[in-house]
């Protein structure tokens, strides 16, 4: 039995990710609130607004859902579910608080693997939660104009968006060293979700909100998903959504890595 004294970076990342997945699986109740809230939004918004902006809006200026309000509102719930990636920082903070992080620091493990593992798990959670919401949406009538591939496109954008929240959460977690700091990602949720064309298209928003929404990357994420659901492969909207969600993820991952570098330096 001759060990190599340290595993390769990708093996380390895989092992640490698997460990965190085990932690998530063993606390299933912690996953329920976000799924519940996202599903709740879907049902309540559809129930409250679907009657007005659904099929009965045909032929009126309010027919922006083109007869299927679930298609229109589903992206809002998926974006809401993708915020679950914001819990990633909590995994890291739990490890810092429990001393597991210090144990890893004393081993020949790449600190990037330690930082990336929770972000990756955050991304996987987003995929699963967004997938569940998408499934519920399909059950209650969603039907993407872009066809079956549209489901994967929506999930892909949700994944990138969620990774962005995961990166922000990890950065906030390592900077503050506290669970509260890591959960700060959730405070971004409300302005991000509601200073956007959440319930109507952007053109129908009042002037100030329209301006605010134009600066909010969530707007482009929601619009890209809506394009897939309602109109099909509308290249410019989808490209913008991918660029904004990918850019957000890149930005926050860089922020996480810089923060982690500072945090893992010796005192």
């Amino acid at each position: 039995m001759d060990n190599k004294i340290s595993a390769s970076f990708f093996l380390q990342l895989g092992i640490l990710t698997k460990r965190l997945i085990l932690r998530v699986i063993r606390r299933p109740l912690a996953e329920l609130p976000n799924i519940f809230i996202s599903a709740f939004f879907l049902f309540v918004y559809d129930g409250a607004l679907g009657g007005v902006f659904g099929g009965s809006a045909a032929g009126t200026p309010f027919d922006f859902a083109k007869g299927n309000f679930v298609n229109f509102i589903l992206p809002v719930s998926i974006v809401s579910a993708s915020v679950s990636g914001g819990a990633s920082g909590v995994y890291l903070v739990e490890d810092i608080e429990s001393g597991v992080f210090k144990r890893y620091q004393g081993m020949p493990i790449s600190k990037w693997a330690i930082i990336l593992a929770p972000i990756l798990v955050g991304g996987l959670r987003v995929l699963i939660q967004a997938g569940l919401i998408l499934t519920i949406g399909v059950i209650i009538g969603a039907n993407p104009a872009a066809g079956t591939l549209g489901y994967f496109a929506v999930l892909g954008i949700a994944f990138l968006w969620g990774m962005g929240f995961a990166g922000y959460s990890v950065a906030a977690g390592v900077r503050s060293g506290s669970s509260q700091g890591a959960q700060a990602a959730s405070f971004l949720f409300f302005p991000a979700l509601f200073l956007a064309p959440t319930f109507t298209p952007r053109y129908a928003l009042k002037g100030w909100l329209q301006t605010a929404a134009s600066y909010n990357p969530t707007t482009y994420v929601i619009e890209a998903m809506r394009a897939i659901m309602i109109d099909g492969w509308v290249t410019d909207l989808i490209t913008k959504g991918v660029l904004f969600s990918g850019g957000f993820a890149l930005l926050t991952l860089t922020f996480a890595v810089v923060s982690a570098k500072k945090a893992t330096e010796k005192a």
């Binding site: 060990n3 092992i15 085990l22 932690r23 606390r27 210090k102 004393g106």
Partner: protein, 324 residues
């Protein structure tokens, strides 16, 4: 070559209240295959010294070597040589003991098959094979410490650092852990442990360094240190606190401790009768008199001016938190 060498180690933390010297000047050498104890109260600088030697804390000045490797410049190589069980290193409570050993072994580069084998070996070594597949949150404090010790042994380190390994354990669990530590020493592992328990240092350590306020104040084997105090310690118990104070004024060099009068003499058996006569002639009623060899606590008293047992010192972990 020494297994561990600390040379004029110094650590200064910057805090909002100003600089704090947690370790002022600590030097010692640990021979291959011995148990070396660092004894001192909370806040003495023990944990900070260990953190510097295990590459987890930057050294302000001085140097540390592990098996000839410099901890500051060869930290990656040093980590491969050492096993570390710190007071505040954590264990993932949601995983099972077996999963933790397996995960740790894989991170050290063991193949899946070898990681399985090593997990089984270590589960048996630390005596938790029956609890192997239970989540760690169901383990007792003693089991967690043994698991922690086992996790620090996964990669078969040459030097093991144990920071207060039995703090908070009941006497039975402490004894079990002591036996395991001795077994590791007998298997050739060099062990550096910190403790604030005199009995633990006496029982385990081949040599001891006493640290107080960031400085080494004495070093040697337990017997050498006790010989340094010299002679025997005579303890008189008197019938009242008032008489103890009177008795102290009659016997030169005596000290009051826990309402007893203690004096260190060259030959306890010879000196008890004349001292007893002095006290009774002054109408002081002696309830009991005994002569004992000095303990490490007596050594500690002599070199620091206070007793370790019951010493209240600032918690150095708090200090580290402040320094962030």
């Amino acid at each position: 070559m020494f297994a561990v060498e600390a040379k004029n180690l110094k650590k200064t933390f910057k805090t909002k209240q100003g600089d704090v010297e947690a370790v002022k000047d600590v030097s010692f050498q640990v021979n291959q295959g011995e148990i070396f104890g660092i004894l001192g109260p909370n806040g003495a600088g023990k944990s900070t010294t260990i953190l510097m030697l295990t590459t987890l804390l930057r050294i302000t000045s001085g140097s540390g070597k592990i098996q000839g490797l410099d901890v500051a410049t060869q930290d990656k190589d040093v980590r491969k040589k050492i096993g570390v069980a710190l007071q505040d290193t954590g264990i993932d409570n949601l995983l099972t003991g077996r999963e933790l050993f397996y995960t740790t072994a894989r991170l050290w580069g063991f193949s899946k098959e070898d990681a399985d084998k090593r997990s089984e070996e270590l589960l048996n070594l630390v005596g938790i094979p029956d609890a192997a597949d239970r989540r760690v949150k169901t383990y007792s404090g003693g089991m967690k410490r043994r698991l922690d010790l086992g996790l620090s042994l996964v990669h078969k380190p040459e030097v093991l650092f144990l920071d207060e390994p039995t703090t908070g354990l009941d006497p039975g669990s402490r004894r079990v852990l002591w036996d395991e530590i001795k077994r590791l020493r007998n298997a050739g592992v060099t062990i550096l442990l910190t403790t604030q328990y005199l009995e633990e240092a006496d029982e385990l350590a081949d040599r001891i360094s006493i640290i107080d306020e960031g400085l080494v104040v004495a070093e040697g084997s337990p017997d050498e240190l006790k010989e340094m105090v010299g002679g025997d310690v005579i303890t008189f118990t008197l019938d009242s606190e008032e008489n103890v104070i009177k008795a102290q004024s009659l016997i030169e060099g005596s000290e009051i401790e826990n309402n007893d009068l203690r004096v260190t003499v060259n030959n306890g058996a010879k000196m008890i009768p004349p001292l007893l006569t002095t006290l009774t002639e002054n109408n002081l009623e002696v309830v009991s008199a005994s002569a004992n060899k000095p303990t490490l606590d007596d050594v500690f008293l002599q070199v620091t001016g206070y007793r370790l047992e019951g010493a209240e010192e600032p918690d150095e972990n708090m200090l580290e938190e402040v320094s962030g």
